[in-house]
Symmetry: C2
Subunit: 203 residues, 2 copies
DNA sequence: GGTTAACTTGGCCAAGTGGACAGTGCGGTT
DNA sequence: AACCGCACTGTCCACTTGGCCAAGTTAACC
């Protein structure tokens, strides 16, 4: 709104709009995580984004539209991390260790987790929110399934269960642990992690 | 508020208060599950409970107080079901089967699940909500731990993992599956259930 | 220079929202 | 019968909220 304008003579006006839009989206996602979906107000979003409250209704069709876009973008972005971990991993154990480490390294305080939960909750009411989220989760499970298959072939984990079933179990397990740690931050996951590793290994 | 009064001459005034109070609490819990914590209004609660909206402020100290009480009571009540399943069960497998059956039997549409999620989310902001919930969850894990220990002694499940770690894993797994089915109602749990049973059995 | 279109800004409004409160009715007590 | 106190009941109020809009600003285009 000040220094970045008029330098190269490029797209001051048009690009400024995109920047404002992005700032509003980011602020909205942060507020959903902070306050909960229903407590977010357009004025609070504007304040957090550092724009006047009229700007919100200029760039978006309404509060619902804005919250939907912000939640979906933020959640997909948050899920991209674990997904890339799963893609890069060579074994199921690596995924488990990676994500468990992420949990104990302060992911609890990460607003991504809160946003994920809020979006999940909202997705039961709004199909427009649920659809992209469910698609991403299926993608995650598919990646995990392929990983399980490879790990089974290599003998890393027990081969007597279906890869898809095992992948769903692992994904649910990780999310469930996230939920439990959120409710009870003092919960120690080390024993549980050992148990999971041991069980997957097939004793 | 009409026919029930003045019949036997018993508890008209005092008991009527308790009934109204209970109706408000129940309506509040239902609305939290339906609309989400932040979207609930005292007027909507009063309408659902069939009382004038002034009654809400008469019986409770304020909206926060009411929502807290309603959410805690409703959630503890919802958790009592699974807990009694776990108490009555003779083995870990029984708990798994019982709760998985409960999932596929329409627990997804059960407002209890929605209320549980809303309360869990709120508990990250309000310690007064988190405390009783965390206590109940610890109780659930403790019951499960004892069950795991007994199942291990009997040889029903692999005995090479700590009972506490296994119990936490099972609890998280169930909650995680609940979350995934909520997001993707078409998700088939049968393969996953087989996988879990197989893994727990120690192959 | 003038025009246009995208963007910004702050004021405004109707529709709630939570809470307060002055009454009202009625059972129980004396 | 007179009284008391509890459980309401409906109204009122200060305030917030989402959304609209009429100006203002800026940069690109003719």
């Amino acid at each position: 709104m000040d220094s970045a304008v008029g330098q190269g003579g490029r797209p001051s006006s048009a690009a400024q709009g995109a920047a404002t839009r992005a700032a509003i989206l980011e602020a909205a996602a942060a507020l959903i995580a902070d306050l909960g979906w229903g407590q977010v107000t357009t004025r609070a979003i504007a304040a957090r984004a550092g724009v006047p409250h009229g700007a919100v209704n200029y760039h978006f069709q309404g509060k619902d539209d804005l919250l939907r876009q912000a939640a979906i973008a933020g959640t997909l972005n948050a899920l991209a991390g674990p997904l890339s971990i799963a893609r890069a991993a060579g074994s199921v154990q690596e995924v488990l260790d990676g994500i468990l480490a992420w949990f104990t390294c302060g992911a609890l305080n990460d607003p991504s987790v809160a946003l994920l939960l809020e979006t999940a909750r909202q997705s039961t009411r709004d199909p427009l929110v649920r659809e992209p989220l469910a698609t991403k989760l299926r993608e995650f499970r598919a990646t995990l399934t392929e990983l399980v298959r490879r790990s089974q072939e290599r003998g890393d984990i027990a081969a007597d269960s279906s890869p898809a079933g095992t992948a769903t179990m692992v994904a649910a397990l990780l999310d469930g642990l996230m939920l439990h740690v959120l409710l009870d931050p003092e919960l120690d996951l080390s024993e549980t992690a050992d148990t999971i590793r041991s069980l997957l290994r097939g004793r």
